[in-house]
Amino acid sequence: MSYYDIDSIIAENQKIPCTCLVSIPGLGHEGREVSQGSKVELPFWLAEVFAVNSFVDIHMPPPFSSVVRNALKANPNTVALRDTTTHFYHFAEQLLHVVSDTSLAEVVLDTLRQRSMEIADAAVNPQGAIQQNNSFIEGLDDFERLLFRLAYLSHRDIARWQKQN
C-alpha cells in the first residue's frame, strides 16, 4: 500500500459505521458536536485512528455484512460486488488490518479465486461476455475491472502479434 496510490486513497475514503464512545465536538453536521453513544459513518482513515484510541467502536460495514458474505459463499459469481463498494478487495484488506476476522479473509480469498476464473473467461471474448453475462461484468469492483482489462489486453496483444506475423 503506497502513500501515493490513488486506489488505496479511495479505499480509505470508504465509510465505516461507528458508535462514538465519547462526545466529539466538530464531528457532526456543520461542525456540531456528536454525543456519546451516537452512530456515525466515518471514512476509514478517521475511523481507524479513532478506534485505535478507543474513541469509537467500529462495526462491520455493509459490503462485509453477513448477508453479503452468505451470498458470496453460496455463489460468488451472482453477487454484484460493485453495488456494495467500488473497492471491495482494497477495503477488505484495510479493514483486516484493524479487525480480527479470519472468516472475512477466507470469504474474500475464495471470492477472488472463483470470480477470477469467470473474469478470465469473459476477457477472452468481451463482446460475447457483455451480451450474455452483462450483470457479472457490471458488478465487478475496481480491482476486478483491472484484472478484466489486463486479461483482455494481454490476450489482445498476443492475438495482434500472431496476426502481424
Binding site: Y3, I6, I9, N13, L27, V40, L46
Partner: protein
C-alpha cells in the same frame, strides 16, 4: 464527512482516478488545490485554538485522558490534515509522472494538452526536467536514450509525410520531409515523428 472536512481533497482524488486512464493531462485543478490548502490552514488554526484553550495558552500541560472529547476532536483535525496532505501529494505526484513520461516518449495528444493543462510550477518542472534529462542523456548519445522502446524490426521503412516537418539531421546526413512526399528511410531516424503523427509508415 458530515462536517464537510475532506470533501475538497476527494475532488482531487477523483480527478486523479480519471487521469490514470487518460493518454493526455487534464487541466490543473487550481481552485480545488487552493480549497484544500485553505482547509488545511483553517483546520490547523482550529486545532491550535482548541489546544491553546486546553493548555490555558501554554501554561498547563494538556492531559488527553482528562479531556477525551477534546482529545478526539484534536485527533480528528490532525487526521484530516494528514489525509488532505496525502491527497495533495498523490495528485501532484501522478501529474509529475505524466510530465516525465512526456519528456521521454513525447505523444501528440499529450503535447496538445500540455499547453493548457499545466500550472506555472508544473511548467517550471517540465523545463527543469527536460534540462536534467538532456544532461543524463548526454554521455549515452550512441544509444539514444529517448529512442524507441519497441524492439527494432525493420531497419529501413517506407514512410509518407502527413505534415511538413522540414529538414532533419540523421546519423548519415540530412533528409527533407515535405508534406505528401514518400521516402525510404532508416526507422530510427523517423520513429519519434511517426509516434507524434507527422509521418505514417507504409
Amino acid at each position: 464527512m458530515e462536517n464537510g472536512l475532506g470533501n475538497h481533497s476527494n475532488k482531487l482524488i477523483h480527478d486523479s482516478k480519471r487521469t490514470l486512464y487518460l493518454d493526455y493531462l487534464p487541466p490543473y485543478q487550481t481552485d480545488a488545490v487552493a480549497d484544500v490548502v485553505r482547509e488545511i490552514r483553517a483546520v490547523d488554526r482550529e486545532a491550535s485554538a482548541v489546544l491553546s484553550h486546553l493548555t490555558e495558552n501554554g501554561t498547563v500541560t494538556f492531559q488527553p485522558e482528562e479531556h477525551p472529547s477534546e482529545a478526539a476532536s484534536l485527533l480528528m483535525l490532525h487526521a484530516t490534515n494528514l489525509h488532505n496532505k496525502r491527497c495533495l501529494m498523490a495528485y501532484h505526484n501522478l501529474r509529475l509522472g505524466r510530465i516525465r513520461q512526456y519528456c521521454w516518449d513525447g505523444g501528440k495528444k499529450m503535447e496538445a494538452s500540455l499547453k493548457t493543462a499545466l500550472s506555472p510550477t508544473e511548467r517550471e518542472y517540465l523545463s527543469r526536467y527536460s534540462e536534467l534529462l538532456a544532461a543524463y542523456k548526454g554521455p549515452w548519445t550512441d544509444v539514444d536514450l529517448t529512442g524507441s522502446t519497441v524492439p527494432p524490426k525493420d531497419l529501413f521503412i517506407d514512410v509518407r509525410v502527413l505534415e511538413d516537418v522540414g529538414e532533419i539531421e540523421t546519423e548519415y546526413g540530412t533528409i527533407n520531409l515535405t508534406k505528401n512526399s514518400q521516402l525510404h528511410v532508416r526507422t530510427t531516424d523517423v520513429e519519434r515523428l511517426i509516434r507524434q503523427g507527422y509521418l505514417v509508415k507504409l
